[in-house]
């Protein structure tokens, strides 16, 4: 593998890692309540 291919691979893996982190963070147990509260709050704005 030449340098460019390794670089591409690195970027690709990096992007997947960022995506995985976002998913893990969003779906962590700690954040369940905080993550979903907005959808209930929006219903009682009237």
């Amino acid at each position: 593998m030449d340098l460019a291919s390794i670089l591409y691979l690195g970027v690709t893996i990096g992007l997947f890692a960022v995506f995985a982190l976002i998913v893990i963070r969003t779906y962590s147990k700690k954040r369940k309540e905080r993550g979903e509260i907005a959808k209930y709050r929006m219903l009682d704005d009237d």
Binding site: K32, E36, A38
Partner: protein
């Protein structure tokens, strides 16, 4: 007391004006569809297909589409932030400057002052106007969010903010030009570069003006109409980041097989296919929000518009990636299949959500109950049938013409001349014009219903009585 707190005046005005420009867009669309079957309907120099088609597209995108964005965002932002708009004066300016910009666009395009870049035809002085307009809008929305009285930001606000930023970056970059006079400029980019910049703009204008905002509306008006929250706020967040990240890579799928470097085309193709995931993230979120509520499809006309709208979005975001694949693009690109695809998105997805949003808003901002639900149902069927006739006729036409373009004799010569393939299109173009007329009839019913609502609708004692949107 809430009524005095929010600025509904501006919402009313934007609803009304967006409908005016929506009528213009559809009417001009019907006219150009007849020009395609009967060239005698071109009246040179102003009323020719070449000059009217950009008026149709720009009135649709900037007049109707952006008009509805202004109306709904200015409403939603106040409700979700539980506070009045940051600046009433700025919003008022935005309203009049919006109409001035759209009128200036229509007049200059009719006169032939155009850059030729699709969905960005207006010459540079109007680009300046659009930028001023967008900044006024963005500042007002962002400042309202900053001074909000509700700590949690609902997903609709996320999509709104992405749209504000996205449109600004896209429009400014693609506007760069060297002016010759007030009405003529040359692009700052040349040839292949210009093509690549332009389709980066044009495809993402679809993302930032015709996808993110209707999603913001859908996520707000669906739970408001059904009375139950969306299925998952966290899923909407994952879909949000994926969508705004991936969209920007895909512009070159409009340029497959052109001289644009292959690697850009390949990236565009790959990201287009990946985009199915965040798109369908929102579609599923919508469907799953209906759990236990599907009976509302029968009972609540708002839900009908919204769910059929998101279904069109689902179809659009499956068909789009399919077209973005090189082999399929080779066959179908440049045929009537493409307008069929676009119109499923605009007439189906964006407009269905817009109609639902306006039906939701009217009783609340005018304090009057909708004049007639049967008429709203009639409109639903007219625009649904009109759109399906429109798109199906041209999908068939596109496949037919693509097949004829590629047909070859055993000796390697072409089976059909270009004209022979075009003549085959006439019957389908007639059917399409018919579909457009049915759709236009639906819009007239819509306007009549709203007019009667404002004139004769029963007054609503308090907006709270309509909180669930089941009129």
């Amino acid at each position: 007391m809430e009524k005095t707190e929010y600025n509904y005046d501006i919402v009313r005005s934007f609803v009304n004006w967006s409908i005016v420009w929506g009528v213009v867009a559809v009417l001009v669309g019907v006219i150009v569809s007849f020009q395609m079957v009967e060239p005698g309907l071109n009246f040179a120099p102003y009323l020719t297909f070449g000059r009217l088609r950009p008026i149709h597209t720009n009135a649709g995108i900037y007049g109707w589409g952006v008009g509805v964005i202004f109306a709904t965002f200015l409403y939603i932002v106040q409700r979700l932030c539980k506070t009045r708009l940051w600046s009433d004066g700025l919003a008022k300016f935005q309203l009049w400057f919006f109409n001035a910009t759209i009128i200036a666009s229509a007049v200059t395009l009719l006169l032939g002052y155009t850059t030729s870049k699709e969905y960005h035809e207006m010459e540079w002085p109007i680009d300046v106007m659009v930028v001023i307009l967008w900044v006024a809008f963005a500042v007002n929305i962002i400042m309202t969010i900053i001074k909000r009285r509700e700590e949690h930001m609902y997903i609709s606000l996320w999509y709104m903010m992405a749209s504000l930023i996205g449109v600004a970056i896209l429009y400014l970059t693609n506007s760069a030009a060297m002016p010759v006079s007030l009405f003529k400029s040359y692009s700052a980019y040349a040839g292949t570069n210009d093509a690549n910049v332009h389709w980066w703009f044009a495809h993402n204008a679809v993302a930032m003006a015709l996808t993110a905002p209707p999603l913001a509306m859908f996520y707000y008006f669906l739970p408001k109409s059904t009375g139950v929250p969306i299925y998952s706020h966290r899923l909407s967040i994952i879909a949000f980041w994926s969508l705004i990240f991936m969209y920007l890579w895909t512009g070159a799928h409009h340029l497959l097989w052109t001289p644009v470097p292959d690697w850009i085309q390949t990236l565009a193709m790959a990201f287009s296919v990946m985009l199915i995931a965040p798109s369908w993230g929102s579609v599923f979120n919508g469907y799953l929000s209906m759990g236990g509520q599907w009976h509302q499809m029968r009972e609540n006309y708002l839900v009908k518009f919204l769910i059929v709208g998101i279904t069109f979005y689902g179809m659009q975001t499956l068909q789009g990636p399919m077209q973005a694949v090189r082999t399929f693009s080779a066959f179908i690109h440049y045929t009537d299949w493409i307008p069929a695809h676009i119109h499923m998105g605009t007439m189906g997805w964006v407009s269905m959500i817009s109609f639902a949003s306006i039906y939701f808003l009217i009783p609340r901002v005018y304090g009057r109950q909708l004049y007639s639900i049967p008429l709203a149902n009639l409109q639903f069927w007219l625009i649904l049938v009109g759109q399906l006739i429109w798109s199906f006729s041209l999908w068939i036409a596109g496949v037919l013409q693509a097949g004829m373009w590629n047909a070859m004799n055993p000796d390697g010569s072409l089976t059909y001349t270009f004209l022979e393939t075009m003549v085959e299109m006439y019957p389908y173009w007639w059917v399409r014009a018919g579909g457009g007329l049915i759709y236009f009839a639906g819009i007239l019913v819509f306007i009549y219903n709203l007019y009667m609502t404002v004139q004769k609708g029963e007054s609503v004692p308090s907006a709270a009585a309509f909180a669930e949107g089941r009129a």
